[in-house]
Symmetry: C2
């Protein structure tokens, strides 16, 4: 159809409209009042030439690219897509564009990415960091994050999943409470020998979930048994292996909490391989409530992922508007979802939205 080979810019519009380029800019952005007659001429020219703003040039001038970066562990890990989807959808509505990055859970890569982002002039970052905040080696990195600058001006950074420190905005989940909720459920259905296959302790979330388990034991006056708490690595295999170890240890358990759904699924499999009945012999509950949990009818603690994404973006927008806003922390709570892995015969429904 059109055959022009030259980029058409604001100045072409100005020429065919017979006005100055600043006038064009003003009608396009509503920056200054412009007479109706000129405005019309400009709009007509825009139509005629099929003019499109150049966001790059605009960004160079204004310092705002309307692009935000989302840095997560992995784009496939079942937990992040819903988060991303929610962020992307809202950002789109707000006229922002979302660029994604995966760290693969490696701190080196994460740091490299943060470094790289400095040259990109994005307007903000949503980060699910894999940094162990307890590791002294990371303090300078955390310091850098807290005071991240691109070319002199501070760039908004919102943490998700893990609260890196008390100065960065963050959207997190109350993990202690979440595990407590899970424990509570198992206790309610009469279980007293409850094991915990832990999320890795190197992550803050892992530390907190463990804390939740310990706090639960204390609350119910149950004895702590170190053989009933094993550290997994988030994968189903690790859940499988941990469960095998527990079962082989000779300890009798009637309940199991896992630090995420994947490990819980692995653990269920190990139990079933041993001929144990779920939930009769062992009630199993996961954490996160990713959709596979509903597929295999496993109880879990639902983490509101869409809500996390939504809130993270809101915090980011807030800080973009007002860089000096006071620090804000949003702590979300997980809900108990009961299915057949803890209560037999539970009416089964599927989580049909998310795939």
């Amino acid at each position: 159809m059109e055959k022009e080979m030259k980029p058409i810019g604001i100045k072409d519009v100005a020429k065919t409209a017979g006005v100055s380029i600043s006038t064009v800019s003003h009608v396009l952005n509503g920056t200054k009042p412009v007479s109706d007659s000129l405005r019309k001429r400009v709009m007509d020219a825009v139509e005629e030439l099929h003019y499109e703003v150049n966001m790059v040039a605009k960004g160079l001038k204004s310092g705002r690219t309307h692009n935000i970066a989302v840095v997560v562990n992995s784009l496939t890990s079942i937990f992040f897509p819903p988060l991303l989807q929610s962020i992307q959808g809202d950002a789109d509505r707000l006229g922002y564009t979302v660029t994604v990055f995966a760290t693969g859970g490696e701190l080196n890569k994460e740091q490299e990415l943060i470094q790289m982002l400095k040259s990109l002039w994005i307007d903000g970052i949503i980060l699910s960091s894999c940094a162990d905040t307890a590791d002294p080696a990371n303090v300078s990195y955390l310091e850098e994050l807290t005071d991240l600058k691109i070319n002199g001006h501070p760039i908004p950074l919102i943490c998700i999943e893990s609260e890196l420190n008390t100065r960065l905005d963050a959207v997190i989940v109350d993990d202690v409470d979440g595990i407590f909720t899970a424990f509570n459920h198992l206790y309610d259905i009469g279980r007293r020998h409850i094991a915990y296959i832990a999320a890795p302790f190197a992550y803050n979330t892992g530390k907190l979930r463990k804390e939740g388990y310990l706090a639960s034991l204390k609350k119910y006056n149950l004895p702590f048994n170190s053989r009933l708490i094993l550290e997994g690595d988030y994968t189903p295999v690790s859940g499988y292996e941990c469960m095998k170890t527990i079962l082989a240890s000779g300890e009798m358990i009637d309940g199991l909490i896992a630090g995420n759904d994947q490990m819980a699924i692995g653990a269920m499999r190990a139990a079933m391989d041993k001929g144990l009945k779920i939930p009769e012999d062992i009630a199993v509950i996961g954490y996160d409530d990713n959709f596979p949990a509903s597929l295999i009818q496993m109880s879990s603690i639902n983490i509101p992922k869409e809500e996390m994404g939504k809130m993270a973006l809101e915090l980011l927008m807030r800080r973009i508007e007002n860089p000096n806003a006071s620090r804000m922390l949003i702590r979300l709570n997980g809900d108990l979802v009961v299915r057949n892995s803890t209560v037999a015969g539970t009416k089964s429904t599927w989580d049909l939205e998310n795939w």
Copy 2:
């Protein structure tokens, strides 16, 4: 730590190094030979000032932003994350950044996005279109895609999943062959009354999969029975409903193929709800082989998603390098994965990588 509030640019580097800005540019980009002494002074200044290139300015000058857009249906739909992950990972390695967009399967939204992308100056697009190529209303849109321009110069576009026309580069799956492979498997295990719960016919992929089913019947000289082919909408519920309809129709079937895993899972559920045994009474096979299939031990046709992403990016890079390269189509084949839903007692393994 650092406290400079002014963006530091190439000219600051030039000043502290005591050279001209073009020299700085040349050592940074290796554009022209520069004497070792000056080069060192420049690099030292870069170090000292913590200089970071400004990709926006660079982009404005060069017309290359090193950013590509990936437009898909949904970021949560189990099919895309592996694809995205693969694209993002490779792009990262190549120094490209990936911006994601979701259409929600709505053509309007897709067109709006494409329009919007024109102002972004990305270097290329990978698109999984939801356009029905058979609909005459879409010809002008398809025409536009085929000859997409940003500011006068053509912008590379690679289609994935669906071959929009014979001029656009594309990475697709041989759907006819894929369904045939599934059918073939059911036939091999002795099934002769095979129903098909179809992927929506409005999508090319849906059309082709249906074709695969029909071709299979023909090949094995089996009668076509219109009551054994029902159109689903990709969701598990639709699979559930279709299966219920089939079972209620009085037709006896001993095998079922679904146009994707989700529908297959829904169908399995419907069958089990009726007290039917899988695979004894009905052997069920899905399509795509997303990881939930391995979770519930369902046979499926594995679509190489990572490979698709990888190839799509390769095609995109190829076309960025050489806009006039001849059109290239990559057709990938799916592999049969046999699990318990078609052959009882199959050794079960999990797909542990992808979550």
